[in-house]
Amino acid sequence: MPNVMIRKEADGALSCYIAKKDLEEAVVAIEFDEPERWGGEIELADGTCYYIEPLSEQPQLPKTMRARRA
């Protein structure tokens, strides 16, 4: 269960930073990105997938949250 930080880049794309692995990757896919539901499975540019417990609203980014490998 690593902590990941999701951030919105200047060009609007999401990026994910995993402090434990000191790894920064672009987010290529996110399961839920709606006004009332945000999160779920996210896929990074290097092919790894993580699961973030879906939130009931859009989070204020950047935000550090718990994720687990999906």
């Binding site: 951030r7 402090a19 000191d22 920064e24 990757e25 672009a26 540019a45 290097d46 950047p62």
Partner: protein, 489 residues
């Protein structure tokens, strides 16, 4: 001469030929020919453990924390906690300039160490550490805080430096920061940067939250500029000229009071992303301070960065930025006119730390020089992603290159100039290749900003066109034909 991808790949395979299969497979992942079409995709494997048995130029976590991030903070005393060598051999080598009176209110070039002996390894060094804090308090009462930089044995014997820091900090009423940056942690100095950033967060920022300062809408902080040869100063004047107020310098010529002001700024400007992105991320998330990367190497990048920074603020700043750009254009155009004819078309190979292999490319290109190979000692994947658009297609890219590989690449690519660290310097000079030490500017600098570019151009010309490179063959070993010509002529 530029190579195509197949030729670069062939060169990589040729160089890797000598390795055993397993090592070859591993090293293969760290070397590549640049593919500009693949921007945003994975380029090379980075931030992995170096191969046992090869010569690597990497440093350790202690180097990343004490040498890079904490060391330049001038009004704090940084204790190299452990045996004497780590502190002594890295003392003042990075040339982080500062103003102040050394030994009175600034301590940058001094070496404080607990000088571990056998007895301290056996019985623990905590008592010694408390004594040191007392001695520092008596001898240097004007210091503003202490950081304890652990060397390997401290972690191995399990000393509790946090407890000492807590007790003594309360006693003397100053900030004492225990930094767990033992050299064996991580694969390179990169983890040391991370650990140092985390301690800055926990022991400096978290404790200064109630602090109030007078703010203006134009407050910025320079982050990740270590004032090597005066770099931060030549950057700072540009930012001040466009109307911004530089509140803090992290950490070149910086003070602990400046760091505590950090979260109150409007924008964090990051120069060395690799070593200080951690604290910038933290400030963005916790205090809502946005950050922006910038690059002040070479006039093209300077102008680009000043415009980018100004775009974040209002029109008065943007107008002033244009004025500053116009003013300095008169200063740098004659420099390019003077040095470009002397340096045009020359090939450069770079191998530096975590930022310069991509940041200095603009400065070389402004002088008409070409980058034929570049690579980092301790970069992560995101650094390579940012490098791809900066260099031409098929340029050789190497991560944590070994001594053998770098030598072979230089033999084949025949660069006119190599920019790397002091460990490579004398090898290449003995090979007859002009060399600049690009970590601390070969005792020169600053290289940042428009003022720095003038020095950069002069230094590159001085090195590359030095008459000594023609004198490498002894007169009696020169071919006889030449001699006959001299006699006849």
């Amino acid at each position: 001469m530029s190579m195509d991808k197949a030729e670069t790949q062939a060169l990589i395979s040729e160089v890797l030929e000598v390795y055993p299969d397993k090592a070859k497979k591993d090293r293969q992942k760290h070397l590549t020919a640049n593919d500009t079409d693949a921007a945003g995709k994975k380029c090379v494997t980075a931030n992995r453990k170096s191969l046992p048995g090869v010569m690597t130029a990497r440093g350790c976590a202690y180097a990343g924390s004490k040498g890079v991030v904490w060391g330049p903070i001038k009004d704090m005393i940084h204790i190299s906690h452990g045996p004497v060598g780590c502190g002594q051999y890295s003392r003042a080598g990075r040339r982080n300039y500062y103003t102040g009176t050394t030994g009175v209110n600034s301590f940058g070039t001094m070496n404080f160490t607990s000088d571990f002996q056998e007895r301290d390894i056996v019985f623990g060094g905590d008592k010694k550490l408390s004594t040191i804090v007392d001695e520092i308090e008596t001898l240097f009462p004007l210091h503003k805080g202490i950081s304890i930089q652990s060397e390997c044995p401290v972690g191995l014997i399990g000393d509790d430096i946090e407890a000492v820091a807590k007790v003594k900090g309360k006693e003397i009423g100053k900030t004492i920061v225990p930094v767990r940056c033992e050299g064996f942690r991580g694969v390179s100095q990169s983890l040391g940067h991370h650990i140092a950033n985390d301690t800055l967060r926990d022991y400096v920022l978290d404790k200064s939250e109630e602090k109030e300062i007078e703010t203006t809408p134009y407050d910025v902080a320079i982050i990740g500029d270590y004032n090597i040869g005066g770099d931060a100063w030549s950057s700072r004047i540009l930012l001040e000229e466009i109307g911004l107020r530089v509140v803090a310098q992290w950490s070149g010529d910086g003070t602990i009071a400046e760091l505590e002001n950090g979260p109150k700024v409007k924008l964090n400007l990051i120069h060395c992303y690799r070593s200080m992105n951690y604290i910038s991320r933290h400030m963005e998330e916790k205090y809502g301070v946005p950050w922006m990367e910038y690059n002040l190497f070479g006039p093209t990048k300077c102008e680009e960065s000043l415009r980018k920074i100004a775009a974040f603020f209002d029109e008065t700043i943007q107008a002033k930025a244009e004025e500053v750009i116009a003013k300095y254009r008169q200063q740098w155009e004659p420099i390019v006119a003077k040095y470009k004819p002397l340096l045009e078309g020359k090939k450069v190979m770079l191998y530096v730390g975590g930022l310069r292999p991509r940041h200095v490319i603009g400065a070389y290109e402004d002088l008409g020089m070409e980058i034929v190979g570049t690579g980092y000692e301790f970069a992560h994947n995101d650094d390579y992603t940012k490098t791809i658009p900066e260099v031409k297609d098929a340029t050789l890219i190497y991560d944590d290159v070994t001594g053998y590989e770098l030598e072979k690449f230089a033999e084949q690519l025949k660069p006119d100039l190599i920019g790397a660290g002091v460990k490579e310097k004398y090898i290449f000079q003995k090979m007859g290749v002009p060399f600049r030490q690009m970590h601390s500017w070969d005792y020169s600098g600053p290289y940042h900003g428009f003022d720095g570019f003038a020095i950069f151009a002069r230094d590159m010309d001085m090195t590359l066109n030095n008459p000594c490179w023609d004198k490498l063959t002894a007169p009696w070993k020169k071919p006889a034909v030449e001699e006959a010509m001299v006699v006849n002529g």
